[in-house]
């Protein structure tokens, strides 16, 4: 790593007050970014600014504050459109997060259009959020769920996908980047093959949004869901992108305010997209602040993000893989800055607690991917996931701590 790069990371770290604290008497090392990333001051400032200056309900008010709040809310929609290069801002629907986005598609699209014997394809490395919504739809419609198997290195093979893809396939929903393993899946190819078979393609982009430049027009995905809190933004806000024609063909997901045009006891007509899918007062403040997170990523640029994260991943592999009993779970050729692992003879929970005692935050457990853990015949892993503000020095400290902990277990 060159000097200029380390200076930049140092500057980036200054924007995250949460990182500058002691946990259990040690400087915090935050390696749980795949669960939730930290928020820079520009995001928290935007949140505070909104509540202190512009707080009002959106879209219906005639007064100044309502106008300001509405503008700020819709500005985030435009920022999200730009972020994923969607064709139109109306194709951006605000949700609580990725989970709600997938459920929305499952209930408002799949439940309406799928029938008995139709097939849905997912991969074996999906988060529960991209499994259970489809299982519910299968129960409701009689459709069948097919699963692309995962290879020992944590990849899926396109030929396995092709085996499952038939003229009965109506929908394919795959994770872009696995939260448990870090595997980057060949989603563009999967989408193209799904379309060739006449199926609709959805992408779970929760882990991809903070790491990869996503261009929905280039990917040609029909739906994409992602979350604010995994990309330096607030919790409780996410985006569902959908192609206009598909969104227009769908029925509303929830009923209430905002999503209607006219309501009478005899007949209610629905609003246009995206409002048709945004019933009730949305999470205005977090949506407004989410724009600052998008601009934060754009300001750094994916080139630098990628370079920094790959440097962290590389250092992690160099320092960790040699530790006594270290067993990486997920060694795909194309993977993001996630190292999921086990140490022979030491339970992940024990490691997680001992690392926390040294101020190091990692995730332990099944990471909401129980079928994947069953596939590897393990209960869970320890997962260290890196963000742009992490440093190689933190990785070194982590490796030394882990090494010492393991030695203690062996003694």
């Amino acid at each position: 790593m060159n000097v200029a790069t380390s200076i930049s990371v140092e500057q980036i770290r200054k924007e995250f007050p949460v990182l500058h604290q002691q946990v259990n008497g040690k400087p915090l090392i935050y390696f749980d970014n795949a669960a939730t990333s930290q928020t820079p001051e520009c995001v928290t400032n935007a949140l505070v600014h909104y509540y202190q200056n512009d707080n009002a309900n959106i879209h219906r008010g005639i007064h100044t504050l309502a106008e300001r709040a509405t503008t700020a809310f819709e500005d985030t929609r435009k920022a999200a459109q730009r972020f994923i290069n969607a064709g139109e801002a109306e194709e951006i629907i605000f949700t609580k997060g990725t989970t709600e986005g997938i459920n929305l598609v499952a209930q408002a699209y799949a439940r309406k259009f799928l029938k008995a014997e139709d097939e849905i394809i997912i991969s074996g490395m999906e988060h529960h959020s991209n499994i259970v919504p489809w299982q519910l739809v299968c129960e409701q419609t009689g459709a069948l769920l097919k699963v692309v198997p995962v290879q020992p290195n944590g990849e899926i093979l396109l030929e396995d996908f092709d085996q499952l893809l038939t003229d009965k396939t109506r929908l394919v929903s795959v994770v872009y980047i696995s939260n448990s393993l870090g595997t980057v899946n060949p989603v563009a190819e999967i989408i193209s093959r799904a379309h060739a078979a006449g199926a609709v393609a959805m992408v779970d982009g929760a882990q991809a949004a903070p790491h990869h430049q996503i261009d929905v027009q280039e990917l040609d995905c029909d739906f994409l869901a992602f979350s604010g809190h995994k990309m330096y933004g607030p919790t409780g806000v996410g985006v569902l992108y959908g192609k206009r024609a598909l969104l227009e063909s769908m029925d509303p997901y929830q009923g209430g305010g905002e999503m209607i045009r006219d309501v009478s006891f005899e007949k209610t007509t629905y609003n246009d997209i995206p409002y048709k899918f945004e019933a009730g007062t949305p999470n205005i403040a977090d949506v407004v602040a989410f724009k600052a997170a998008i601009e934060f990523i754009e300001g750094i640029g994916f080139e630098f993000l990628h370079q920094q994260e790959m440097a962290l991943l590389q250092r992690g592999k160099e320092r960790l893989y040699g530790i006594d009993g270290f067993r990486p779970i997920g060694t795909a050729a194309n993977k993001t800055s996630v190292i999921s692992f086990l140490i022979d003879g030491v339970h992940p929970f024990d490691l997680g607690m001992l690392l926390d005692a040294r101020g190091i935050a990692v995730r332990t457990g099944h990471h909401c991917t129980q079928p994947l853990m069953d596939h590897f015949q393990i209960d869970g892993t320890v997962r260290a996931s890196f963000a742009v503000y992490n440093t190689v020095e933190e990785i070194d400290t982590f490796a030394e701590a882990l090494s010492e902990i393991v030695k203690k277990f062996r003694s």
């Binding site: 259990n24 008497g25 030491v346 339970h347 929970f349 024990d350 607690m353 001992l354 926390d356 005692a357 040294r358 457990g365 209960d379 203690k408 277990f409």
Partner: protein, 145 residues
């Protein structure tokens, strides 16, 4: 030694660790290592304590004096240490004494702070299970009588 005295002993031991998280966790794991082995044939689903994040197995029997003898194990070292504390406090006690005891040492040593909310719930589940065993053994003793 009464239950209260055993609890007091634990409180004193932990106070010597001065609230240091790593030392505390290491001490808990050391205590777990000293827990007598649980027979493998008892480490099955019938003896799993429900409500714990880690796997915890627990069995109980009565000795000739009618006291409850607990056996326990866990798949994680820290949890094994935690359950060993309960075995130490409640084993070799009369069922009635176990049923009438309110365990206070976890609060006194500030256990929530170092094991977190979810594990604290699991710890509560272990205590509940031990009381259920005590109740079962106490009714059995009464029936036998």
């Amino acid at each position: 030694m009464s239950i209260a005295e055993k609890e007091q002993e634990i409180v004193e031991e932990f106070s010597m660790l001065d609230g240091d998280m790593e030392m505390t966790i290491n001490y808990i794991m050391e205590l777990g290592e000293q827990l007598p082995d649980m027979p493998v044939d008892k480490k099955n689903d019938d003896h799993i304590v429900k409500g714990c994040q880690s796997k915890v197995w627990m069995a109980a029997s009565a000795n000739e004096a009618g006291q409850v003898i607990f056996q326990a194990d866990s798949n994680t070292a820290v949890t094994k240490g935690l359950v060993s504390l309960l075995v130490r406090v409640l084993s070799k006690e009369a069922p009635e004494a176990i049923l009438n005891t309110e365990i206070t040492f976890p609060q006194q040593i500030g256990m929530n702070r170092f094991i977190g909310t979810q594990r604290s719930n699991g710890f509560g589940a272990m205590i509940k299970q031990m009381k259920l065993y005590a109740l079962a053994l106490s009714s059995k003793t009464q029936t036998d009588a």
